[in-house]
């Protein structure tokens, strides 16, 4: 168990290092490195200003020096200063984290609890109306682009029915339930993809487990149906959904970018898109690294959960 965790931790750190290299190399891939800081880098700027700007961001130095300086600053927790707002990137990002974290947490609950429950129901009542309905929704969830679904929901629930607000997080002074209404659509859209993945995976592994010898033995011994389902079968069936948690988390990150863009949600996803359109590399790099760290941390937690659920992992 200990060795397993140490290995995973070392691997997470190496991955993070790989991400810094990749981010750096990709940012210097273009024809002019100044482009990642300034839009239209050659248009209407005097050569002296260009030289001064390059010096300011250290772009006149050799690439290796640039990289080492950048990573050195990262290690000290310094993500640099935003080009547009001229403020510390750490500050800007930390202001936006709560909005995204809240949204993601709610979406996470919406995705996992009903996803796993419906997966179980769908497997147990195979071929029933429940099964077909759940599978149809899962199919839609996997084939619908999230940004388009968000637009359709706005069209239906905000424009036509006028039930829910179409954008933003609401005012801080608003009463709790008014603000809660702002969360409904973004959280649902963000949750649909992961929900579908969890539901499908739980269903298929549950079907497999219910067919095994030990479940038959438990039935033969006269163990009650509830105990068989929730204790014998589900615990084994959960391994599969847990292993893909990594992929599900990745889809959360991508989903947040789209959902926040469409619903004008003041979070990190929208910040990243804005930084892209503004050519604001420090912010963009900060967001990518932050997502990278968060993702690896969550991945590590998934590994832990995996070891708890499946003793075979602990002892190998």
């Amino acid at each position: 168990m200990r060795r397993f965790l140490i290995r995973r931790a070392v691997f997470s750190i190496l991955t993070l290092w790989g991400v810094t290299i990749l981010v750096f190399v990709l940012s210097r891939l273009g024809p002019d490195p100044l482009l990642v800081y300034v839009r239209d880098a050659t248009y209407g700027i005097s050569p002296e200003t260009i030289a001064a700007l390059k010096e300011k961001w250290g772009l006149d130095r050799p690439l290796v020096v640039q990289y080492v300086k950048w990573v050195g600053a990262l290690l000290r927790g310094d993500l640099g200063e935003s080009v547009g707002a001229q403020r510390s990137v750490v500050l800007i990002i930390s202001e936006k984290v709560p909005a995204t974290a809240q949204l993601a947490a709610i979406a996470w609950v919406i995705a996992t609890v009903p996803g796993v429950a419906l997966g179980v129901l769908s497997a147990v009542k195979r071929g029933s109306v429940w099964d077909y309905t759940a599978r149809a929704i899962a199919l839609i969830g996997q084939a619908t682009p999230p940004f388009w679904l968000a637009l359709v929901m706005i069209l239906v629930f905000s424009v036509q029915l006028d039930w829910l607000p179409s954008a933003t997080r609401g005012d801080a002074q608003d009463p709790f339930f008014t603000r809660l209404r702002h969360y409904i659509m973004p959280a649902l859209v963000l949750a649909l993809g992961p929900w579908a993945a969890y539901m499908r995976l739980t269903r298929s592994s549950m079907l497999e487990v219910l067919d095994t010898e030990f479940v038959k033995l438990a039935r033969a011994k006269g163990v009650g149906n509830t105990v068989i389902l929730w204790k014998h079968a589900l615990r084994n069936a959960l391994i599969q959904p847990l292993t893909v948690s990594a992929a599900v988390l990745a889809s959360f990150i991508a989903g947040a970018v789209f959902v926040e863009t469409v619903f004008a949600w003041p979070g990190i996803g929208r910040l990243a898109v804005q930084a892209t359109l503004d050519n604001d590399f420090p912010i963009l790099a900060g967001v990518v690294l932050m997502f990278g760290v968060g993702y690896l941390a969550l991945n590590f937690l998934a590994d832990l959960a995996y070891a708890v659920v499946d003793p075979r992992i602990r002892y190998s």
Binding site: F11, L14, T15, G18, V19, L22, V23, L26, S27, R28, L29, G30, P33, L35, V36, L139, I140, Q142, A143, T144, P145, P146, F147, W148, L149, L151, V152, I154, L155, V159, R200, L201, S204, S205, Q240, A246, A247, A250, I253, A254, V257, F258, T261, V262, A272, V273, A275, T276, L277, N279, F281, L284, A285, V287, V288, F291, G292, Y295, L296, N299
Partner: protein, 299 residues
């Protein structure tokens, strides 16, 4: 005997005809095939099928609704957008971009992934360890954000999108192919081929590749749908294909501002994406059930 008679009578009765048609549709992916086939034809022959230029608008026919809505006309069956460009024509040309991007990206990704998987599984040792750690690292990368960085440094272009999507799609194939090869290479026929003097390249190409090709086909088909959504997403954010190229994602982004007055601009491209992706997913499911039901865990 009785069973045969029953079957014969079933075959002739109308109920039997219905059942046979139903079974045929269940057995073969007819509808997904039709959707993908007509899309492919529409994409390839878009220039012949439609009289309109997808980039040239008719300002006298701006925001015309679909033919069956209000004062819509059959001249523009699915209406026009804000600058009077025909929606149906743009959808067809958009299919061209979507299918091409997904097709090229998935091909490059599949070939690279298969080669990596073959090598890792067959050679083993350090090569295996290195390649598999690379696969692990790769599946841990947030690709959308990486795409944003490339969009800033290189700028939007078709080849950038294809390259990124290809990069994002090799790892799953590599892992599965490697798993298959690991068990295949211990078989007797591989040892016999070695005894007969076959080179390593020949063994991989002639003896192992044909045995794993079904895995490759299944993964590829299941992958296309998500690549189409990814391309549309990048275009939607304005960081993918240049805005002058008609693609489904860009059409949705343009229609977003006119959701209240002209819903069809954003809604139809989304429906096109949904239909295409669903068709590919069904095709993938079918291929998987047909070729290798063990891969069920993949989707």
């Amino acid at each position: 005997m009785a069973a045969t008679t029953r079957m014969l009578s079933l075959a002739r009765s109308p109920a039997g005809a219905f059942k046979r048609t139903f079974d045929f549709f269940r057995r073969w992916p007819v509808i997904p095939g039709l959707i993908i086939g007509s899309l492919a034809v529409g994409a390839i022959f878009a220039g012949f099928l439609t009289p309109y230029d997808p980039k040239q608008g008719d300002l006298t026919a701006r925001s015309a609704p679909p033919a069956w809505v209000g004062d819509g006309e059959w001249a523009h069956p699915l209406g026009t957008d804000r600058v009077g460009r025909d929606m149906l024509s743009r959808l067809l040309y958009g299919a061209r971009v979507s299918l091409m991007v997904a097709g090229v990206a998935v091909s490059v990704g599949t070939i690279t992934g298969t080669l990596a998987g073959l090598l890792a599984g067959y050679v083993g040792g350090m090569v295996d360890e290195l390649l598999m750690r690379l696969v692990d690292l790769w599946s841990a990368l947030p690709f959308l954000l990486i795409a944003l960085i490339v969009a800033v440094s290189v700028g939007p272009s078709l080849w950038m999108v294809i390259g990124l999507l290809a990069l994002s799609s090799w790892s799953a194939g590599a892992r599965n192919v490697r798993g298959e090869v690991l068990s295949l290479k211990t078989r007797d026929y591989v040892a016999l081929a070695k005894v007969a003097g076959a080179s390593h390249t020949r063994i991989m190409y002639r003896h192992l590749l044909p045995q794993v090709i079904h895995v490759v086909i299944v993964i590829t088909t299941l992958r296309i749908g998500s690549l189409i959504i990814a391309e549309a997403g990048l275009s939607f954010l304005g960081v993918g294909v240049p805005a002058s190229v008609p693609t489904w994602g860009i059409m949705i982004a343009e229609g977003r501002q006119y959701l209240l007055t002209a819903w069809w601009i954003a809604i139809f491209p989304g429906m096109a994406i949904f239909a295409t992706v669903t068709a590919f997913n069904f095709l993938g499911d079918w291929a998987r059930d047909r070729l290798d039901p063990r891969l069920r865990q993949l989707a």
